[in-house]
């Protein structure tokens, strides 16, 4: 395993200390500013802030979850190309433990967000009475605790085991993580699905869709791959990674991003077509709300921004290999993932049309700042790629003919 050292000599092992420090301090400023702005918004308009914050929070948590999924699936499939990418996704999944703290405002404001079924009027609603064994505050908080604890435990375990391999130059941690990945993916699938039902679908507690968990997962996978593409491009630009991650690996990430963009559209279209076609009022109301007034523009923006444009752009091999084009597509998809969540949450507040407000920005910047800060802490202290991954040489060599 020592032989990798010479082959990968061009790769930087850890961030330069000054760079790391600058990264952490800048993101900390962003975190402080974001949290302060969030606090101000919470005081000014608590009700709107509750929804805006939920949107921002789910944006961060889904990116972390997409990253955790990537880590798990690389181990599950015994992937050999993705050593460096896996490390960067480990950083990103590191925001999940922090999400337990970021969830607190949602927990506190839950009665505002889920007022339909948490409020007193639920007692007069026959349907909600039927759902009460699931949709009740106590069980909601218990479930949220289980989800957040499971994600924190999974991400910390994979990070810890992977870092242990950096120190020990042993291949056993790889075998261990592979063995752990199979049960982990089941825990992941169940928690992300029910978290989607709880946090997003139950805002409108009469509406339901069996595919909803898969829909949120598709957005999580797309957005985390977009963030991964940006990290990869940044590390290449800075000249820090040349061998273990190179333009071929960027191409691979682009291919996955392209695939998941289609997957998102496939899931979104499946949900839309089936509901539109059957035309049952209790289901179509969801799309009805999102087709009123200026929400129509947001819906169309999703169609084009989350699918048509990135699909056409990423179809090309040159685009996936170009840092500029792939980077631009990634930024677009990250923005569209926020728009997607905004489109899920905010029509419950802004009926008959979207009304942008600075409070929405505040609700995003708080979680975003904290997420960026935690991410940069990870990047600052951990090696830039898994130093002793058994397949590093291969990751450096496989190309895309």
């Amino acid at each position: 395993m020592k032989s990798h050292g010479s082959a990968l000599a061009e790769d930087t092992k850890v961030l330069d200390r000054a760079v790391a420090k600058r990264l952490v301090s800048r993101s900390m400023v962003l975190a402080i500013a974001g949290v302060a702005l969030s606090a101000l918004a919470a005081v000014v308009d608590t009700k709107r802030f509750a929804f805006s914050y939920l949107t921002g929070f789910t944006w961060v948590v889904t990116i972390g979850l997409g990253a955790l999924f990537f880590v798990i699936i690389q181990h599950l499939t015994r992937a050999r190309w993705s050593a460096a990418a896996r490390r960067h996704m480990e950083w990103m999944s590191g925001v999940l433990p922090a999400c337990a703290v970021l969830f607190l405002p949602v927990a506190v404001l839950a009665h505002d967000i889920y007022h339909h079924w948490m409020g007193p009027q639920a007692a007069n609603d026959h349907l909600l009475q039927q759902k009460a064994p699931y949709l009740n505050p106590t069980f909601f908080y218990i479930r949220a605790g289980v989800f957040l604890a499971a994600w924190a435990a999974l991400s910390l375990w994979f990070i810890k085991t992977s870092r242990a391999q950096d120190e020990s130059a042993d291949f056993r941690p790889t075998a261990k993580m592979r063995a752990g990945s199979a049960p982990a993916v089941i825990v992941f699938a169940l928690t992300i699905s029910f978290a989607s039902f709880d946090w997003l679908m139950s805002i409108d507690p009469h509406w339901y869709s069996t595919i909803f968990g898969v829909y949120v997962f598709a957005g999580a996978a797309t957005s985390s791959l977009s963030a991964l593409a940006l990290i990869t491009i940044a590390l290449h630009k800075a000249g820090l990674l040349r061998k273990v991650s190179n333009v071929e690996r960027q191409h691979d990430i682009g291919k996955l991003l392209f695939g998941f963009t289609i997957f998102w559209a496939y899931i979104a279209f499946s949900q839309f077509l089936l509901i539109w076609y059957a035309n049952i009022p209790e289901e179509t109301i969801f799309y009805r709300h999102r087709w009123e007034g200026s929400w129509k523009v947001v819906s169309l923006a999703l169609l084009f921004g989350h699918f048509v444009v990135p699909f056409l752009v990423l179809l090309s091999r040159h685009a996936k290999r170009s840092p500029l084009v792939l980077g631009a597509a990634s930024v677009l998809l990250l923005v569209m993932h926020y728009v997607d969540l905004y489109w899920l949450v905010m029509p419950n507040v802004d009926h008959h049309g979207a009304h942008l407000s600075w409070i929405d920005l505040a609700g995003l910047l708080g979680p975003l700042g904290v997420g960026a800060w935690v991410l940069s802490l990870q990047a600052a202290k951990s090696p830039l790629y898994p130093l002793n991954d058994p397949h590093l040489a291969e990751a450096a060599r496989i190309d895309n003919p």
């Binding site: 349907l127 909600l128 790889t174 592979r178 899931i267 499946s270 509901i275 049952i280 496989i398």
Partner: protein, 477 residues
């Protein structure tokens, strides 16, 4: 790259690292390029084992059962089936969805695993793709037979006519016609393009004039020049890229046949991905069933190794668990909806008159495949054979449960009924296995059943630089 280089990777290299990291070589045995070619083309060019003839006769007999059933159907009409006004779709569409689903594994192996650089696919992709085409052929029987008046079968297609009668473009049944026929066409082309280099090998080795001419025509004048290979590789990649969305679209549209309706138990948004996962699940089970036999019968244990079977079993447990996830979501959301009709449809499935079918489905599809979590089970030939058969049974029951249990309790309780298949339902379905096995047996006899040129590229002999680390040995092709 000497033709006699041994394929076996140095045994000491298979250390604890290899064992822990799953690095057993992809192909085993002492075959070199020449003996590999001898073995595979030998199946085509020499007399088949007597067992083949016996199986072929059995398959032909079953095929005759299908033929007889269809002739009777054309004579009498679909009244010979057990359908009634409430359950107006049963074994016919169950058989259709069952066979279309079986086909999906072939495309997954040949196209999707290719895009994911999974080199173990090379030993099994040819046979699995053949299976795809034969399964689609079996599926195609049902929509046509269900017409009753099969002489109007061309009306399935939007053909301009003087009466301006068109099929309903808003119906997923018409989308099925487009999806399945496109899928069959592209799969057949993909399969044939992949066959060309190997057909040329057979041509070169054929001793009889007839075989030389037939394979000479089939291989389209392949000479193995650099330019040929360049075009071949490019075409292969394009076909893989096209087949991937195509295969997903096929079972998605099959799921639309049900899910666009407002029938409780049919109308649920998770149907498209759930059907696709189920299709891959059932297809892989069929590949395992067939490969367990074929590798033994033709002495291909070195090419289709335990590792191949184990990988397929892992795909089975993964997709089976996805199907289990879909069952769970359906049940949960049916309860969560608070909708009385939804709740009834699912309670009726679990506890109603067809509960025996529901629990057969759940045991075969969700519970038994979980045994593959144990390495002992997923590497044991008898265990995987039994489980793969159970999965096939379970997936047939899944379609039956979805279709019949949702229909047999109509919105009008006076229409409630219990569906019983007639002897013709059964003979048509079991007869379709005759078609499938006849085609498959002809395929293993007359065409190279393993993709020779692809398999050679992953042998150790194809890596003349002799990699230092085992992990690179079979990936440097």
């Amino acid at each position: 790259m000497s033709a006699t280089a041994p394929l076996q990777v140095d045994p000491p290299r298979l250390s604890d690292r290899a064992a822990l990291l799953d690095e057993a070589p992809l192909v085993q045995g002492k075959d070199d390029f020449r003996s590999l070619t001898d073995k595979i083309s030998g199946i085509v060019l020499t007399k088949p084992p007597s067992g083949w003839l016996i199986l072929f006769c059995l398959a032909i007999s079953l095929l005759l059962v299908l033929g007889g059933s269809l002739v009777h159907l054309v004579g009498k009409g679909i009244g010979i089936w057990g359908l009634n006004t409430t359950v107006n779709w049963a074994w016919d569409i169950t058989g259709f969805v069952f066979w279309v689903g079986i086909g999906h594994a072939g495309t997954l192996i040949s196209a999707i695993l290719f895009l994911f650089r999974q080199k173990w696919r090379t030993s099994i992709n040819r046979a699995a793709e053949a299976m795809t085409i034969f399964a689609v052929a079996c599926a195609a029987i049902y929509p046509v037979a269900h017409l009753g008046r099969i002489w109007f079968a061309h009306w399935l297609f939007p053909i301009p006519n003087q009466m301006s009668i068109w099929p309903n473009f808003k119906s997923p049944l018409l989308w099925d016609v487009f999806a399945v026929s496109t899928y069959a066409t592209v799969s057949a082309l993909f399969w044939f393009v992949g066959l060309i280099p190997d057909l040329a090998t057979i041509r070169d080795r054929a001793t009889s004039r007839t075989k030389q001419i037939v394979f000479g025509i089939l291989c389209l004048g392949w000479r193995g020049s650099h330019r040929h290979w360049l075009h071949y590789e490019r075409a292969y990649l394009i076909f893989a890229g096209l087949s991937t969305p195509l295969v997903l679209s096929v079972h998605t549209i099959v799921s639309f046949d049900f899910a666009v309706s407002i029938v409780p138990g049919w109308h649920t948004t998770i149907f498209p991905p759930y059907f696709v996962a189920g299709a891959i699940f059932s297809g892989f089970a069929m590949v395992v069933t067939l490969m367990v036999f074929a590798r033994k019968a033709f002495g291909l244990e070195g090419l289709i190794t335990t590792r191949h079977l184990e990988n397929m079993n892992k795909v089975i447990v993964a997709t089976g668990t996805m199907v289990g996830y879909a069952y769970a979501m359906e049940l949960f959301i049916a309860w969560y909806s608070g909708n009385g009709y939804e709740r009834f449809a699912f309670a009726n499935r679990i506890l109603g008159p067809y509960s025996w079918a529901y629990w057969t489905m759940v045991s075969c599809n969700v519970i038994f495949p979980q045994l593959f979590w144990f390495k002992k089970v997923r590497t044991s030939i008898p265990a995987m054979f039994v489980i793969s058969i159970l999965v096939n049974i379970g997936m047939w029951f899944e379609r039956f449960v979805i279709i019949v249990t949702s229909l047999h309790r109509d919105f009008l309780p006076s229409s409630w009924t219990y569906f019983r298949p007639s002897i013709w339902d059964m003979s048509t379905f079991f007869g379709s296995f005759g078609l499938f096995f006849t085609l498959f047996l002809l395929f293993v006899r007359y065409l190279p059943m393993v993709a020779l040129s692809e398999v050679k590229a992953i042998t150790a002999a194809a890596d003349p630089h002799g990699s230092h680390s085992n992990d690179e040995a079979h990936h440097a092709a």
